[in-house]
């Protein structure tokens, strides 16, 4: 159970870290970029909310299998097939939680008053410097919201993991899968303990992030 919990936490941390960094870039383009087909891109990014995890998982299995071009390419890069590995879980989680990373941050970027950005330009700050010194600190609230959402969503993820992870202890058996196994085996006591553990860890993490967000942000807003 502890092994499964640690794996769930590792998956959530890795996914959150990677996804938040990606989301900062994607959200910047969505909030400030001018390009055709922006609505289409946004719709595409929202799609993981609508898709059943089974569909997403199914296509990831299809894509990652050594028989597909992507799968065989990844196999040469990583030196082994990615399917039924921790890396596959990370990939699946990234896609599955994408909307929770991108949209809160995009909203936060868009709510930064245009004049703050223009003030920075006028005082000689380049686009990147303005992003780091003005946009990012003024969006901290949204970024922390996204962090909390992605972490929680990945902790509780089940369908995608089931589809692409297989059930390898220490590699792909997360706590939610462990609970499922225990229920299937009619070991309800253990299932209860694992469920309460998952619930407590998720709740405590969310509380930490949210209280950090409140203390950090109410300083000036």
């Amino acid at each position: 159970m502890v092994e499964a919990l640690l794996l769930s936490m590792k998956l959530s941390l890795v996914t959150t870290a990677i996804l938040i960094i990606f989301s900062l870039g994607i959200s910047y383009l969505l909030a400030y970029g001018k390009f055709r087909g922006k609505e289409f891109v946004e719709a595409l990014l929202l799609l993981p909310l609508l898709l059943p995890p089974t569909v997403l998982g199914f296509y990831l299995v299809y894509m990652l299998s050594p028989a597909s071009p992507v799968g065989s390419l990844l196999e040469t890069v990583f030196g082994r097939p990615l399917l039924f590995s921790f890396e596959a879980l990370v990939l699946g989680s990234l896609i599955y939680s994408l909307p929770f990373g991108v949209f809160p941050i995009k909203e936060a970027f868009q709510s930064v008053d245009r004049r703050y950005i223009e003030t920075a330009y006028v005082f000689g700050y380049s686009g990147l410097e303005t992003f780091l010194k003005v946009i990012l600190p003024l969006s901290s609230r949204g970024i922390l919201t996204a962090t909390a959402l992605v972490f929680a969503h990945t902790m509780g993820e089940f369908g995608v993991v089931l589809m692409i992870g297989g059930n390898i202890p220490g590699e792909t058996r997360t706590l939610s899968i462990y609970i499922y196994d225990e229920v299937q085996a009619l070991r309800y006591g253990e299932a209860h303990r694992a469920s309460i553990l998952l619930l407590s860890v998720s709740l405590i993490t969310l509380l930490l992030i949210l209280s950090f967000r409140r203390r950090w942000v109410t300083g000036y807003i």
Binding site: D113, R115, Y116, E118, T119, A120, Y121, V122, F123, G124, Y125, S126, K133, V134, P137, L138, G219, Y220, I221
Partner: protein, 235 residues
């Protein structure tokens, strides 16, 4: 040529075309006009935040923009200070940090102390913008713009959200600074134009309809019927 700003431009928006020729000399230049007359566009073109369809501009004898030759200096390279009506100060920085924000590519520490002393904001230096009054915020914003050692100072309705008394006091303060750069100030209030007593440019529907001295502002104020006729809010 010399010290001032020479500007000719034309910018077409879906609802209005703003164009004109302006010479802003050292001292106060007031752009007077109702809202929607294109006043702000003039400032945005000077600062480089708005790219006009056609335009030519020099500042202190330097070429900033010549669209016929494809020259358009970005705002970062114009060294022009700006003060908006509100939302000037970065809310996550203290008063001192806000001033230092403009100073980053400029002089050292001594200057900040001097400047805060002169502007009477030294006691506020560790406060955040939301912890000081509107008048204090505008004073900090002006101090910050000057900390940048700009070649010109642009002000977009800088006193419009201030109480009358504070407005008069801050205008007086601004006059006493004896700035040796062109100050271009946009306002809809002829009283501000009158008090600052500089060159006045009247804008209407995107075009300069009059240009002259303080007498223009005076006329606006004396002939109250004229104000009533021309201001859409009252009629």
């Amino acid at each position: 040529m010399g010290d001032g700003i020479h500007l000719t431009f034309r910018k077409v928006f879906p609802s209005i075309t703003v164009e004109g020729e302006f010479v802003f000399e050292v001292g106060f230049n007031l752009i007077l006009g109702p809202s929607g007359s294109g006043k702000t566009t003039v400032l945005r073109v000077i600062s480089g935040l708005e790219r006009p369809d056609e335009g030519y501009m020099t500042c202190c004898g330097e070429l900033y923009m010549d669209t016929s030759k494809g020259v358009f200096l970005p705002p970062q390279r114009r060294r022009i200070g700006i003060v908006f009506q509100d939302h000037n100060l970065l809310p996550h920085l203290t008063v001192r940090e806000n001033i230092e924000f403009a100073l980053r590519k400029s002089q050292g520490d001594v200057y900040v102390e001097d400047l805060m002393e002169r502007f009477g904001i030294k006691d506020l230096q560790d406060r955040y913008p939301h912890q000081i009054s509107g008048g204090e915020r505008q004073r900090v914003a002006i101090a910050r713009a000057l900390a940048y050692r700009p070649k010109a100072l642009l002000m977009d309705e800088p006193f419009s959200s201030l109480d009358f008394e504070i407005k008069v006091r801050i205008i007086d303060f601004l006059k006493n600074l004896d700035l040796d750069i062109p100050v271009v100030l946009v306002t809809h209030d002829p009283l501000e134009a009158y008090l600052l007593a500089g060159r006045v440019f009247v804008l209407r529907n995107g075009h300069k309809v009059r240009e002259g001295g303080r007498e223009i502002a005076e006329e606006f104020l004396i002939n109250l019927d004229l104000i009533r006729d021309r201001s859409p809010e009252v009629s």
